[in-house]
């Protein structure tokens, strides 16, 4: 989903930085609060951040003869919300910008908005909608993670379509969005499904090994966690 350095006009770079910055500031405040008040949540924060590091480093071949990578942001969005997730994504995207030439400093704001803001917010909304429903915990985690991944790539497609619209007679932004959607989002569908299943599996191990942290953070209702553990 990286927009490469130099491939976005400076005006758009600025706009996306302005959009990203309030989330990052909010995320730093939320992170500070977790560090100050709930240090027992830190290992869980480490695990959710670690899976963003792991999954976003895997360039996997997909259908349509192209490669892409998962994002791993859904689990962090569920456990700590989209604001803290945006800060974790800042770290990952900064590493990739500085050492891998994937993305870049000028387009970092745009890449944070897609991977660290819109994807996690979309996933978080799905999670909030399903959290208190009768939907199984693992199905909720799967849908949250898969949709967070897909919305990241939808956002990248939209960002590029806005910066590079087709001529008006050729369909403008909508036509351009269709082209970029075909490149980014369609490639991503199988990856998003696998990512959702893998992160649901990770969540199962968290439930089995450390349910008390999930109870304390009220990530899911206690009876839902107990049912998922097989206690109820």
């Amino acid at each position: 989903m990286h927009i490469m350095e130099g491939f976005l006009p400076w005006q758009w770079c600025l706009i996306w930085w302005v959009v990203a910055l309030p989330f990052l500031v909010w995320g730093f405040f939320r992170l500070r609060r977790v560090l100050d008040t709930d240090r027992e949540a830190l290992p869980l924060l480490g695990v959710t951040g670690a899976f963003i590091f792991i999954l976003s480093s895997l360039k996997l071949p997909s259908v349509f003869g192209s490669c892409s990578h998962p994002t791993g942001t859904g689990l962090s969005a569920i456990c700590f919300g989209p604001a803290i997730t945006s800060v974790v994504c800042l770290v990952v995207l900064l590493f990739q910008s500085l050492f891998l030439a994937h993305g870049g400093l000028s387009v970092l704001g745009a890449n944070i908005v897609s991977m660290g803001v819109v994807g996690p917010v979309a996933g978080y909304l799905v999670y909030r909608a399903l959290r208190n429903s009768r939907v199984n915990v693992y199905v909720t985690v799967f849908l949250t993670c898969a949709l967070a991944d897909l919305f990241t790539y939808l956002t990248t497609s939209l960002q590029l379509a806005l910066a590079y619209p087709a001529p008006a007679e050729g369909g403008g932004v909508a036509a351009s969005f269709g082209v970029f959607f075909g490149i980014f989002a369609l490639t991503q569908i199988p990856l998003a499904i696998v990512e959702g299943i893998v992160l649901a599996l990770v969540f199962k191990y968290i439930i089995q090994l450390k349910p008390e942290i999930l109870f304390r953070l009220r990530i899911f209702p206690e009876q839902a966690i107990r049912a998922a553990r097989g206690d109820a």
Binding site: A50, L60, S62, F64, Q96, H102, Y138, V179
Partner: protein, 102 residues
């Protein structure tokens, strides 16, 4: 079997994913599996009618000198995540085995 249902689903999903990849390579032997980032950048060049080389970084950027070094750095990124995840899960597992939190 029910206890490991999610593991079985994950395994089947990974196998299906591998199957799709093998099908794609068989159906389109000339597929190069370029990164979607690069394909997207090529599309920008096509839309604007410019050469790829004319898109220069707005902020100077270091690039890995070779594909192998790039792969090593990606592996390093994954290893950092793996170390943290492995440490935390190992610690939690140890606590669970001892039957008491630290």
């Amino acid at each position: 079997m029910m206890r490991y249902r999610l593991e079985v689903i994950a395994l089947l999903a990974v196998l299906a994913f591998i199957g799709l990849f093998l099908y794609t390579t068989a159906a389109a032997p000339d597929a190069v599996f370029a990164g979607s980032d690069n394909v997207g950048s090529s599309q920008i060049a096509a839309l604007t009618g410019k050469e790829m080389e004319s898109f220069t970084p707005l902020i100077p950027q270091w690039k890995p000198p070779s594909g192998e070094i790039e792969s090593a750095l990606f592996a390093l990124q994954a290893a950092c995540g793996g170390l943290v995840a492995g440490y935390v899960f190992g610690r939690w597992k140890g606590e669970a085995n001892r039957g008491r939190p630290d």
